[in-house]
Symmetry: C2
Subunit: 333 residues, 2 copies
């Protein structure tokens, strides 16, 4: 399997990206193509002492870079020669099996839609991160690609998310819930009420009705369906609150010698908790609905997170989730 | 000061409500009127052994009860004889200085609007809980009273929230932020972009621009402005995630004898953290924009939370926040 990686996406490019790729080649037995300026990549590889690994990567040479400030549309025109755009063009042309970038999310969704294209029948591509809970992990679909949505888009987010959780995460009959202000059927705005009615009728998925955000951390569902605005709120507040709480616990443990001793006694268990709630160990998230596997890595991903993300990309791509989504939507047609 | 309390609102009414009222009379030196069935209240007071305290409360006798299943509108018609409606009618008629209920939020907002009425110029009453963060507490305005909003409503939520945080919480020049998917000005949907423009121009408040949910737990703002759908998401996910994390830490401490020992060593500090993040110690939340002080208590409030809520109601009412909101909106007129 060959994974194409955007060498110049994210806060820590290209160094940490290259390092993560090098480690992933070793661990996962995958081939890597990296899009970006050949000279800059080489000198970065030299600095890191991974020249030998780098020599085994294919370089898709291009000198332009798409930044966080660029408009999403720029990936198609002004920045069509950027590492992100070139990577997706290569994926489209069959020069690799999947694409991953830690760059501008909006541009990535735009490129996935217009360069890689969508699975037949897909209205909108969704950004679909899988996050930990106290019990089982869950997916947010859509986690932020589509700020404004129609009800039928939410239904597709639910269907695609369900297929992904079954294929990739091995969940039998994933519980699909609609994120809402209350559990009763009539709750929420028009978008929620119409989406509820459509999800209830749609068949082929295990729709469990409305779910309230307070139950999400306890694993109330496998797929949390939301418009991209709401999904992005859930994603960012969930991550932020978990991190803040971990930080407060950490502060307690550093407060005194006695507390440090207590911390040492339960160090292993605390690390376990940290790992459970650490989204970096999940590494990345798919853009479901794209005709080929496209993944977003965390913007501040370092080598470890890049390596985790590439493991996810490999496992997902092998699972055949794109084909499964294609088949499921063809059924619905 | 006389606070009117809905004796039959919430999961633990009337027992825990009465108990909380009795304790609050002792602690706070306030008078209490309680709305509800006189006989049932008396027999509950007897069971709890607080007959003497109960004899000092004024009872607004009524036999009907508004339930969680009732439509909000019922507070005006079918259930206009319920304890919630009777309590608000008494407030309107000057038979008390503030009203508090742990009952149906939608009905409470409806009653505040139609029975107690709004401050002149207020478009919508907002449910405005104040929550803890790792640094300073913040208010969500609106936390769920208005699922669908226009941009100018969000502006008023910001103004009213700002006045409240200054008057009640003593915050100088409260930082008012718009909850959004990114910090840049152009982010979000039409509602967010239009509200941003209006907030920026409005003057008289310290508008700090868009805020991202991931920064909320770190005290990025004093007032988080949102439509009621988004605000309710933030409220419920924030509470749920904090509780889930506390639960996971607790589980670690119960895992083994060694861990229990470690927990004992830092017991005091852990209790401090729990208290910091415990919304029950905040007790209740105002419905800002109502012409007189109306408060929502947590639906599952027990005596301790009722007592905390009544402390908040007293402090708020004394602060003159309603008059301050009235003056501020008159300026804007």
């Amino acid at each position: 399997m060959r994974i194409i990686v955007d060498g110049f996406g994210g806060d820590n490019a290209p160094g940490e990206i290259l390092l993560g790729c090098a480690r992933a080649m070793d661990e996962l037995g995958i081939d890597i193509s990296v899009a970006g300026d050949k000279d800059k990549l080489l000198s970065s590889a030299r600095e890191l002492g991974i020249e030998d690994k780098f020599s085994k990567m294919e370089v898709l040479h291009c000198t332009d870079v798409l930044t966080m400030e660029d408009e999403p549309e720029s990936v198609l025109k002004a920045k069509s020669g950027s590492s992100m755009a070139v990577g997706m063009q290569a994926l489209r042309d069959g020069k690799g099996d999947a694409f991953a970038s830690a760059g501008n999310s909006g541009a990535l969704a735009m490129g996935a839609t217009m360069i890689v294209k969508r699975v037949k029948g897909v209205k909108r591509i969704a950004f679909a991160p899988v996050l930990p809970t106290t019990k089982t992990p869950f997916m947010i679909s859509d986690g932020g690609a589509n700020v404004v949505c129609r009800p039928e888009m939410l239904v597709q987010f639910g269907i695609m998310g369900s297929v992904y959780m079954e294929k990739v995460m091995g969940v039998k009959s994933p519980r699909v819930g609609l994120v809402n202000v209350g559990t009763e059927e009539h709750k929420g705005d028009d978008l929620r009420r119409e989406a509820f009615a459509l999800l209830k009728e749609c068949g082929g998925i295990n729709f469990i009705g409305n779910i309230e955000p307070r139950d999400i951390p306890y694993g109330v569902c496998d797929v949390a369906v939301a418009d991209g605005f709401t999904g992005n709120m859930v994603l960012k507040l969930y991550e932020g609150t978990a991190l803040a709480m971990m930080g407060m616990v950490k502060d307690i443990f550093k407060k005194s010698v006695k507390n440090k001793l207590a911390a040492a006694m339960i160090y292993g268990d605390l690390q376990g908790l940290k790992k459970t709630m650490d989204y970096n160990s999940y590494g990345g998230a798919p853009l479901i609905g794209a005709a080929k596997p496209v993944f977003k890595m965390h913007g501040n991903a370092k080598a470890y997170a890049v390596q985790s993300a590439l493991r996810l990309v490999r496992d997902c791509t092998q699972s055949g989730y794109v084909e499964a989504i294609t088949a499921k939507l063809a059924e619905k047609d």
